[in-house]
Amino acid sequence: MKIFFAFFLVILAAFGGYHLSFRRVAGRSRLAWIHLTGLEFLALGLLLGPRFLNVLDESTARSLEPLTALALGWIGLLLGFQFEIFQLRKFPPAFFLAMLVESTLTVLVSFCFFYFFLPVFLPLPGSLQVLLPLVLAATAACTSQSGLALMFQGRAGSTAAAVRLVRYMASLDGLVPMAVLVFIFFARTREISVTPLHILFLLAAALAGIFIIYMFFLAQRRDADELALVIIGMTVVTSGTAAIAGFSPLLANFCMGVCLVNLTMEKEKIFHLLASIEKPVYLVLLIFLGASWHLPDFWIAVPALAYFIVRFAAKIAGGMSAVHLLPALRRGFPGLLGLGLVEQGGLAVAILFDFQQRFSGPEISYVVGFALAAIVFAQLAGPYCAVLLFKRSE
């Protein structure tokens, strides 16, 4: 019974929240930007979780696996749809390089910091000494572009080019974290029944098969309802396949998204369908993560703050390096570009969720716990930093 109530509450909250948080943004005060981040849903998840109401306990969350698999897959597919080569070519190559420089530098800085400092206050066994800093680095590189899109919609004038670059970087800098995630999922397989080589073979064959099925389905033009059925079914199948192979549903669907957007005729229709429920899906993930949020004591704020500061510094350094290293960006683009990339957003949440689903243990709960707290800081600081950046540029 609890499972049904939990499901209903989660869905209702996500849907209602989507309307409150994302639909009515015009004329809001700066403080109200908090709503844009959907952070209240993280709090709602925490409330519903085992620490308080215990509506969304561990076993209930496990029973709702198809929903979370669909949600993770949906985000992965949507991210994959950002990588349409034809569209990317419309932007200067320097934009792509800037994104790569900034994102890679953020990953490197964050990884080095946590590789050396994480074991100081958290004893980590074996492979976790590398994996946990890698996850933190991957999430650190992610940037949300929804806040930016809503704040600077249709912005013209002197900052238009900078806004364009920041939004471009924010939408594509998930590429590097995805590459890091591939390594994470292949690096540790001792909890599952397949070896890394087996995973690789199984996944390659399965994803090729799934892609062929997609192509057969999309070989003829479909009505909206048929297309929705096909995309939902295929996303769940892809997520399931990845989970059976011990791989990431997020990544598997991301790969499918990249292939689909570049190789199918129905890409516009599919993208429209995916984007139409992106926000509720994101809020559902926030609630589930909130429910499993491990906050042992107040002191978790310390590593969270450290993570936030390191990421902030890495983003600033990354932005600065991109502007200074690439000649095409030296004029007309602010040096403190990284200020526009502070908001962390949905992909970071999805990566943490994916990671927590695949790996478990007290160290992982602790790290995911403070990473989530750091995301909260980033979501709160992000809009102010972005406004600061563009005020300085004007």
Partner: protein
């Protein structure tokens, strides 16, 4: 990719290839030992998604030989289910109950919304006559058959005369039950509209309410027969009346709320609809539990009735009926595919194996009763000959309500209830396979297909 005009716009070779690849993929995945909880959960997701896609493809292929989509969905479920390939295990089917509930609520909303008061008023006499005659003939036919010939069948040979009478009464009532979900699905698929369609739809929906009252009466009678006390609990009927009234009222309130949403927000109505459908089911279950555990009153809100009443209210008492119907049609496909493929996977062929002679006999007697009842009603109403001959075919399908009632009987009267449940599951297995095919055929015979294009208001 090949696309032939022969196939009227559908790429059938592609569908066949999809099926081949899905099977290969499933075989490949089945080879992986699910060593962790995560992998097990992955398998459930894979099975759910795979069955959904296979059902869609099989329904398209079934269309090639003129079968309804519904048969394709059910066939996919049977093929994927525990009795054929085992791709969906009984445990997996059970874990996917959540989706089942959601789909059923959406279908019930659609069922209510399909009922047009003005059309019902026009055909009130015919509807009433059909309900009375079909109910009486089917109930009497099945009950008398079991009482007279029950001792000849292994499943009921060991019953005392009182047990056999109780069994016959309950089986007779359950045989009156139909499947509103299947009715709606076939009507939607065929885009059927006309007096024949309106009549069968109204008869099916009203019978769905009537059957709950009849079953309560039958259960009381069966208790009297088995316990030999001679006491009938009239309080139960009073409570049942309250339940039905409360469910209908709750439906009206929800209909009003939905109409308010459409009028003032309108955006993302599809998502709202899905959440509403699920919320009704869950909230009524929560209410029932609360009333039983906290208030000590066994007052049960019936989610199906609430949804039907909400749909009916929106369609007939508000200006938002057209928008509501249009959106229901937009989500009907994923909902039907999920619901009926899972229903197919849940069909109990073990029961059919155990008592197939009695089950087949009951199926035949029920069909004969449906024919006699509907033919007589149509004859009295002076309906066209084609209506008279084919109406019975549309009443064959049975599903959720019948299963629910037999399970209730099993809990209340375990001595005969277990046998009854086995028989009902077997009868449903047969009816759900042949029912949709004959339903579609009947709609073609009366020439009411392809006219129901809902226009937004």
């Amino acid at each position: 990719m090949m696309k032939s005009g022969l196939y009227a716009g559908e790429n059938y070779p592609a569908y066949a290839m999809i099926l081949v690849f899905l099977v290969l993929l499933a075989l490949g995945m089945k080879g992986v030992d699910p060593g962790s909880v995560r992998q097990e959960a992955g398998w459930i997701n894979f099975a759910l998604g795979g069955t959904l896609l296979a059902a869609f493809v099989i329904s398209k292929l079934a269309g090639l030989i003129g079968l309804p989509n519904l048969t394709g969905y059910i066939a996919a479920g049977i093929l994927a289910g525990p009795f054929v390939s085992g791709f969906l295990s009984p445990d997996t089917v059970d874990r996917l109950k959540l989706i089942d509930e959601l789909a059923l609520s959406v279908i019930a909303l659609a069922a209510g919304a399909e009922l047009e008061l003005s059309a019902m008023k026009k055909r009130a006499g015919a509807i009433l006559l059909n309900i009375v005659l079909i109910t009486a003939v089917v109930f009497a036919g099945v009950s008398v058959f079991i009482i007279v010939f029950g001792s000849l069948f292994t499943a009921t040979a060991g019953f005392s005369s009182n047990q056999l009478a109780a069994f016959a009464i309950l089986a007779g009532v359950i045989c009156v039950a139909r499947s509103p979900s299947s009715t709606i699905a076939v009507i939607n698929e065929c885009r059927a509209k006309g007096p024949f369609t309106d009549t069968i739809l109204s008869v099916t929906m009203v019978t769905d309410i009537l059957i709950i009252i009849m079953f309560t009466a039958a259960l009381s009678a069966a208790r009297v027969l088995l316990a030999d006390t001679g006491a009938v609990s009239w309080g139960e009927f009073g409570l049942l009346g309250c339940e039905i009234a409360a469910s209908l009222f709750a439906g009206v309130l929800l209909g009003k709320a939905t109409s308010f949403y459409i009028k003032h927000i309108r955006r993302d109505f599809l998502i709202f609809l899905v959440f509403l459908a699920f919320g009704i089911t869950r909230a009524s279950m929560g209410f029932n539990e609360y009333m039983e555990s906290r208030a000590g009153v066994s007052l049960h809100l019936e989610p199906l009735l609430i949804c039907m009443s909400a749909g009916f209210f929106i369609r007939n008492a508000t200006d938002e009926g057209g928008f509501f119907m249009e959106n229901l049609h937009r989500i009907s496909m994923p909902v039907y595919v999920l619901f009926f493929s899972l229903a197919g996977a849940a069909l109990n062929f073990n029961s059919l194996m155990l008592c197939w002679p009695l089950a087949l006999a009951v199926v035949l007697v029920r069909a004969a009763g449906l024919f006699a009842g509907s033919w007589t009603a149509a004859w009295i109403n002076r309906d066209p000959a084609s209506h008279r001959r084919s109406a019975w075919m549309t009443y064959l399908t049975q599903a959720g309500v019948a299963i629910g009632l037999s399970q209730l009987a099993m809990r209340e009267l375990p001595d005969i209830g277990t046998h009854l449940n086995t028989l009902v599951l077997a009868v449903i297995a047969v009816n759900q396979i042949i029912g949709p095919v004959l339903f579609k055929l009947a709609l073609h015979i009366v020439d009411e297909t392809g006219r129901n294009h809902h226009q937004p208001v």
